[in-house]
Amino acid sequence: MNSSFHRLAVRFLLACLTAAGTVRGAPDVATGRSFWSFQPPKAPAIPAVRHADWPRSDVDRFILATLETRGINPVGDADPRTLLRRVSFDLTGLPPEPDLVEKYAADPSPEAFARIVDDLLASPRFGERWGRHWLDVARYAESTGKERNNAFPEAWRYRDWVIDAVNADLPYDEFVRRQVAGDLLPASSTEQRDQNVIATGFLAVGPKGLNERRREQFLMDLVDEQIDVTSRAVLGVSVACARCHDHKFDPISQRDYYALAGIFRSTQTLYGTVTNQGNRQPSSLLALGKLPEAPAAAATASPEPDRTRPAGKAARQAARRAAANNRPRPEPEAPLPPMPPEGSPRAMGVREGRPMQCALLVRGEITQKGPVVPRGFVEVLNTTPPPPIPTRESGRLQLADWLTRSGNPLTARVAVNRAWLHLFGRGLVRTADDFGALGEKPTHPELLDNLALRFQSSGWSLKSLLREIVLSRTYQLASTASPQAANLDPDNTLLWRSTPRRLEAEAIRDAMLAVSGILDTEPPRSSPVAAIGDAPLRRGADSLRDASFARKRSVYLPVIRGFVPESMELFDFAEPSLVVADRDTTNVPSQALYLMNNEDILRISGAFARRLLADAGLSPRERIDRAYRLAFGRPATPRELTRAAEFLRLEIGDIARNPPPSQPSNPPPDRRRRPPARSREAMRPGEVAWTSFAQALLASAEFRFLR
């Protein structure tokens, strides 16, 4: 106890001293700037390689040069069918059509592959896949989570904005700028202004503790969450841990934190949730389809008294008391705009509030205010003087500029690293979530810098970046093992082969729907949560699971905090309250049980079987082969044909002989709510057996892995 008191006392002292500017937490900013990720990327020389005929691009030269220094030879190229399945899932999250596979297998030229890549990048399905990657780090969800878990009925607009922006290949710097300060950017039309406002939903869709009594605490938690998502999603480092003390490992001080906090405290966040009970922190929403309003900061008087603002004599007394306590005056909040009426288009997002500076809070306690910190940015990242923040503005516009300006050492590196991660299963910096001192160093630092610099100089185009990487020879390697290489680099850190990867939850479900021929690719432009409206989600959220939008792509399934659809949650969907750059991959029995027994899986398998049976002109063996081509993007081998035929023969005979099992006496709730689409009694043995076979393919490891 004594020692912990001692530690506390020392920390308190340090915090005070730091706040007073007399000492800085270690490491100091100058030392901190020498850390690799805080230095601007440097253009590296393209390395020379011994096997000059192997590389197809500079990416390959960097990879091969490292392999050669270690004496490792890359394995051969992937066969065309494997490669096409890989690139199709990687870029669109969907399997290739069998016809395309055969066409490419017949002409596997680099030109043919490049054309296919261009088609995939141009497909609207691309944004649905790569937009979802961003939604993972944007901790996108359609409810507040925490103790009230109120719905965000308008959150889907932000989701669709992300998908549309990725499809349009909006330059990544602009993509970030609009999400941080879209409301402050020039817009040539009401529609564009609306889109820019929707983009700021990035700052509004985070988890919120609506039950919090203390307004100041709520606001500081809101700000903390915004600092966390902005710093981690864009910069790949955590600033939020400097809320209570200087960062222990990275040169990020509490001053940095409260400098950013001032920017977000000068911003008004509008997330809805007005009407329901137990909500102590209601908000409004932004009206769409209207001309830009004057910033709240310019307003001289508020039309209605604000409940948090002391008025008149009481206010003066409060101010005097605060002054006597040597604390800053309580900052008045900007009044909430009126809630746009139900039925009119509305969005979550932010707008300018009353500009204010934030007081540093000792140990992050709202009751222990320290000195006021001027608004600003993270000092260690100020490689050149940061943009000044005008007194009458929040500083968000300057923050957006600062995040994306060319001298920022992290933004481009973090973005290209994530692209690499989603194409190889692992980033060049393995800890894609942490570019700080506790993170790992890049395996290929020169390649990372090369990609980051060219990403910026080529106009921050994600599509160009991905195109270059997937056209590299490195990406197109086979997944076969090589004893020599495995001995020297068992984890394939240096990329001498392609590492087999399990598909993400969305790709697994979407692929099942696609091969069964029932995928509905039309974007819904809404969400089941929109139908719920402004209400707390408890039991009601359950009924949203997979039931609606049953054939839509998974990116459009409702994401309710605490109620992630089973088909997503079981396969390691990103926790929607956390910034997740790199999802887990597990292979556990609950997934096996889901694939063996779940009603949705049986339904999809039935559709797959009927698709196979619908073509009356096919022999059973041709039908099996067709199933393999649809499910795995390859023909069945003779052994597989024989095995499947034998399976079907035995299964049909057994099903014909044995009556169906009785309905479970104790069906789980999901099953009670929705009667099975097609009962076993209504199906002939052949259909049951083919359903069983189709399910076996969908449940197999090959279906959910990329080689």
């Binding site: 989570g145 841990c241 942490d434 506790l438 993170g439 790992e440 997944s479 093992a481 087999p500 408890r538 905090r561 109620f563 089973e566 949650e569 926790e575 309250s577 887990d584 597990t586 292979n587 556990v588 029995p589 609950s590 997934q591 096996a592 049980l593 889901y594 063996m596 027994n597 779940n598 049986l602 597989e640 095995r643 399976f647 035995l650 299964e651 057994d654 099903i655 044995n658 169906p660 099992p661 009785s662 309905q663 479970p664 006496s665 104790n666 069906p667 789980p668 709730p669 999901d670 049951v688 359903t691 069983s692 076979f693 076996a696 197999s700 490891a701 090959e702 959910r704 892995f705 080689r707």
Partner: protein, 476 residues
């Protein structure tokens, strides 16, 4: 309901496939059959301390030293139950009720407990009238009256109770225990949580950076009717068991081919293993979850069927059955302990809901000889304040509250530590949540400083850089 199966591959009329369980037993060297192998390892029992292998992550691992407990039943009370009205008797609070309290900002007054306390058993532990049945077990209880935690806020405190840290995503204690000791039953998950609150996320039974095999398996959810709670997706409406086994054999044959095609990729092997375990779970789990085998007398003793107790009674009875079946860490949940108001009525209702079921669980564990090596723990994320601005409520108190333990090597009939005269704050022998974690691991034969996992460049523990074993809680 499919007929229960005696053997996982009793597929009548079907030839066993090359990798049926029988063959798996013979092909350990090829990397298959780790489940069977772990079963054998469990029986062999005297292995040196080892890291869990990649092929047998759930195999039984020997503890660091002789354990007092083999398994844990955690009775988790979400919301922060009032220690002042249950297990922490405060005569001065009764005397000074109505006087100004210490709450920041003023305006609060001390709230005397509306409930009578008296001493119980040889040990003379003070327990309130709310727990007449649990009080029968006073001489088996080890009251920890000096608990404290960091943050008086539900989500943070609840997560810290479960993972040690509300600030970072960390593995839950059940995951750590399973990682440390492995599973005693190859056909069941080693860590099961019944009816947990979902609003704080799966983190409370998650494995975070530990391999996912150590995460808790959730059955039901708080405030859901748990009479029909089941492990999801446990039955197939389309196929009979032999038909499904034939289907699974086909899947596994394809998986085996794919394993070869990927040169033995460990994740593909993980898929193969997951199917075998899933198939066995299908037969074993429904048998366990159904309470049909229990006599009406037993059901009545727990309170099954009585609307006041039914939900928690089922959980307690399941906890007994799961502990008998060899599940390593069982958490059962009761919510709604957040009495900012309505203290008397709500607390009476809550305690009634759990008192009889818990007493029946303790009775059964004792009579079956399980209490000696089963550590039962009761408590919530924090306690409550002695004062309030409302006349019939109490607010969050992270600075002092009560947990109790029973069995598993905890010191019976003990009251350990204390809060101040009003119950604001732990003052004597304070026990932080980190200390509770260290002690729990200690009773299981694990040194909390040695149970580590390398992640993000450093070795992590359940207790992070903190925690001390509270030896006073350990039976001498």
């Amino acid at each position: 309901m499919n007929p229960p199966m005696n053997a996982p591959y009793s597929c009548s009329g079907v030839q066993p496939r090359p990798w049926s369980r029988r063959q798996l037993l013979q092909s350990v060297a090829a990397g298959f059959g780790w489940m069977a192998f772990s079963g054998l390892a469990a029986r062999a029992a005297s292995q040196p301390a080892v890291q869990p292998s990649t092929t047998a992550p759930l195999g039984v691992r020997p503890p660091h030293f002789r354990p007092r407990a083999k398994r844990v039943i955690f009775l988790c009370m979400q919301g922060g139950p009032s220690h002042l009205d249950t297990f922490d008797y405060k005569p001065l609070l009764q005397r000074d009720a109505g006087k100004p309290g210490q709450a920041r900002g003023g305006g609060a007054q001390l709230i005397g407990s509306p409930f009578q306390f008296r001493q119980h058993g040889q040990s003379g532990l003070w327990i309130s009238e709310l727990f007449p049945n649990v009080a029968r077990h006073a001489d088996h209880l080890c009251l920890v009256r000096s608990m404290h935690t960091d943050i008086p806020n539900h989500p943070q405190a609840f997560i810290q109770l479960h993972t040690g840290s509300s600030q970072f995503i960390r593995p839950s204690m059940g995951a750590w225990v399973l990682y440390g000791l492995g599973s005693e039953n190859e056909n069941l998950p080693g860590f099961i949580t019944l009816s947990p609150p979902l609003q704080f996320g799966a983190q409370n039974f998650g494995s975070a950076f530990l391999p996912a095999v150590y995460q808790g398996t959730r059955i039901g959810a708080l405030r859901e009717n748990n009479a029909s709670a089941s492990l999801g997706n446990i039955e197939n409406r389309l196929l009979t068991d032999p038909q499904q086994r034939r289907q699974l054999d086909l899947v596994q044959e394809m998986n085996h081919d794919f394993l070869q095609a990927t040169d033995g990729h460990p994740e593909v092997e993980g898929v193969i293993q997951s199917y075998e375990l899933a198939f066995r779970m299908q037969s074993e789990v429904p048998e366990l979850l159904e309470l049909k085998g229990e006599s009406p007398a037993t059901l009545a003793r727990y309170g099954v069927g009585d609307s006041a107790t039914d939900s928690f009674a089922r959980q307690c009875l399941l906890a007994r059955r799961l502990s008998e079946a060899g599940v390593r860490f069982i958490e059962i949940n009761h919510g709604g302990w957040d009495q900012h108001q309505n203290l008397e009525t709500a607390l009476r209702r809550n305690c009634r809901a759990i008192d009889r079921p818990i007493a029946a669980l303790l009775d059964d564990l004792r009579s079956r000889g399980l209490l000696d090596d089963t550590l039962v723990i009761w408590g919530g994320e924090f306690g409550r304040t002695p004062d309030s601005r409302k006349s019939d409520g109490r607010d969050h108190n992270s600075k002092g509250f009560t947990f109790w333990m029973a069995g598993g090597g905890s010191q019976p009939g003990l009251s350990f530590g204390s809060t101040d005269d009003y119950g604001y704050k732990a003052v004597q022998n304070p026990v932080h949540v980190h200390d509770l974690h260290a002690t729990l691991l200690h009773l299981l034969g694990l040194n909390h400083e040695d149970l580590t996992y390398r992640y993000g460049g450093r070795d992590h523990r359940l207790t992070d850089v903190k925690g001390n074993v509270v030896h006073g809680l350990v039976q001498s």
